[in-house]
């Protein structure tokens, strides 16, 4: 009962945030609305007792992705806000096709099964269990991912250094 009330409130927040994020012309307003959506989603995870995923949702999506988006906007000329230029959307009909396809293929089967017959299994999404799973069966995957990320990091640093400019004293007079 109480969980249901919380579910409706959080879902409303998430849906409203997503709508505003899509509809707003102002970039920064859009980003913050997107962050509201992420926050609502993390609340829903918390409601499902998946506290680690909720925390990671806040840490990665609001903390990292949000700040990354703001950084990207900060580096553009539109940091001061809306300057009246409009982004016109072409090809929205294709978007509609994709949206309908997602609804029919992914969501409709799930909706038709409601109310779901039974909860599949007793699951334990606790932090401890997750850590053990990561360290025991999936440790190789984890290591490979870490290696990949390190390589990406080094690549990013190399790319960011760019072409070395000749020093002033090396230039011919």
């Amino acid at each position: 009962m109480n969980g249901e009330i919380a579910f409706w409130i959080l879902s409303a927040i998430a849906v409203l945030g997503a709508l505003v994020a899509v509809r707003k012309r102002n970039l920064i307003h859009g980003v913050f609305a997107l962050l509201v959506f992420f926050a609502g989603l993390s609340g829903l995870f918390l409601l499902l007792l998946a506290e680690f995923i909720a925390a990671v949702q806040v840490l990665v999506y609001i903390g990292a992705v949000g700040v990354l988006l703001l950084f990207a906007i900060m580096l553009t000329e539109r940091v001061a806000g809306d300057d009246g230029r409009r982004m016109t959307s072409r090809g929205w009909s294709w978007g509609l096709v994709v949206a309908v396809a997602v609804f029919v293929v992914l969501l409709l089967p799930a909706i038709l099964q409601l109310p779901s017959p039974e909860v599949a299994q007793e699951i334990n999404p606790s932090v401890e269990e997750l850590g053990k799973k990561l360290m025991n069966p999936y440790v190789v995957t984890l290591e490979v991912l870490a290696l990949l990320l390190t390589a990406a990091l080094i690549g990013a640093v190399t790319a960011a250094q760019g072409v070395r400019m000749p020093k002033e004293e090396d230039l011919p007079e």
Partner: protein, 387 residues
């Protein structure tokens, strides 16, 4: 989930949270007074000493100053610049305060009256430490929001500086906390505090001490405290991101900043200084709250002392220090702590002593080596025309 009626749960939540807010708001008022007094003494002044009991000449060392400041803030006109984004200008100080308040409930403060509260116990989640870092990260957004919404170039510069600084220093902050999580094997704040009972604090080991120092420095930068107060450097960008704030909105920023200081000091106490551990707990169990708050205050006093002593860093020094000194050192420290954990499992005194000596040598060597590597090759200034 639970079958309790909604109203009971709400009352339980109020019993748990309202005292927390009241205690820390009172401590905030006291800390502002303490900071002004201490800074004044460091600068050979007296500091606030007039405001005491109204209508009398009793000064009470100026203890009435916070109340007077609060009343002044409330009655000040709230000015919003014409070009500002009114909604975000209003939301930013609130967003600055909420995460700081929210993380207070992850601190393992064992109040006598929260023992019986079930929902609150449930809220002391298994992942308290990771939640703490996730929610304190939101502060960055509030600072950027304030800088952007003011539509003032100094505000925006301050906001940008704050974002860059907080993002950089979050990494050593989290990496130094990882050591404690590794040693205890839990992300639960209460369990981490429990693992250190009986003076077995993490700060009393080479790796723990190094981690504590890194954590404390990074915490200073995270809360925009001096010497890392570049986002509000008054000689360069007026007051940074809150240049355009006045009245109660400014007071909210101020409150948020201090609550964040309490929260991050509280986490430092939990992780490294044994939480509520201290003498006399067998006789009076509620003393643990007092010890906890006393340790927080010791760290706050340290912050005030540093503010009175150290000059502000330059931007390149700030970034270089985070990425070239703190980050490598904290990663090396994790490695050292990993070896130390394995050595501790053997429970052999000789091996423990050897581990301590080796890790001390490694950490000291790494710190001084990094210091040598980062030394900038600035020669003494040559004066051409002066002298």
């Amino acid at each position: 989930m639970s079958q309790e009626p909604l109203i009971d749960i709400l009352i339980d939540i109020l019993i748990a949270t309202v005292p927390l807010m009241l205690i820390f708001a009172t401590l905030f008022a006291f800390t502002t007074w303490l900071e002004r007094k201490a800074l004044a003494r460091i600068q050979n002044r007296i500091g606030p000493n007039k405001v005491g009991i109204p209508c009398t000449r009793i000064g009470l060392f100026g203890l009435g100053q916070p109340a007077a400041d609060g009343i002044k803030m409330l009655f000040k006109e709230d000015i919003v610049p014409r070009g500002a984004d009114r909604l975000f200008h209003l939301l930013a100080p609130i967003l600055a305060l909420i995460p700081a308040m929210l993380v207070l409930c992850f601190l393992p403060l064992e109040f006598p009256w929260t023992k019986s509260l079930l929902p609150v116990q449930a809220f002391l989640l298994d992942g308290a430490v990771i939640f703490f870092f996730a929610i304190t990260g939101l502060n960055t957004l509030a600072v950027f929001m304030a800088g952007w919404a003011s539509r003032n170039k100094y505000s925006l510069l301050g906001g940008m500086r704050a974002v860059a600084q907080m993002v950089s220093y979050e990494i050593p902050l989290v990496l130094s906390a990882v050591i404690v999580v590794m040693m205890v094997g839990s992300l639960n704040a209460a369990e981490i505090a429990k693992a250190q009972t009986g003076w077995d604090w993490f700060v009393f080991s080479p790796w723990g001490f190094a981690a504590f120092v890194i954590f404390f420095i990074a915490a200073l930068a995270e809360t925009n405290r001096s010497p890392f107060d570049l986002p509000e450097a008054e000689s360069e960008i007026i007051a940074g991101y809150f240049t355009e704030y006045s009245g109660f909105k400014f007071a909210l920023f101020f409150l948020g900043e201090y609550i964040a200081m309490f929260a991050i000091s509280g986490l430092a106490v939990t992780l490294f200084l044994g939480g509520g551990d201290g003498p006399g707990l067998d006789v009076l169990p509620w003393l643990s709250v007092i010890w906890f708050l006393a340790k927080i205050f010791a760290l706050i006093a340290m912050m005030i002392w540093l503010r009175g002593t150290l000059p502000r860093l330059r931007v390149d020094q700030l970034m270089g220090f985070a990425w070239k000194f703190m980050l490598p050192l904290s990663i090396l420290n994790i490695l050292v702590a990993g070896f130390a954990w394995h050595a501790q499992q053997l429970e052999n005194t000789t091996i423990t002593v050897i581990t301590w000596v080796i890790s001390l040598a490694v950490l000291y060597g790494a710190a001084s080596g990094l210091n040598q590597l980062n030394r900038s090759n600035v020669r003494p200034r040559e004066y051409k025309y002066a002298e």
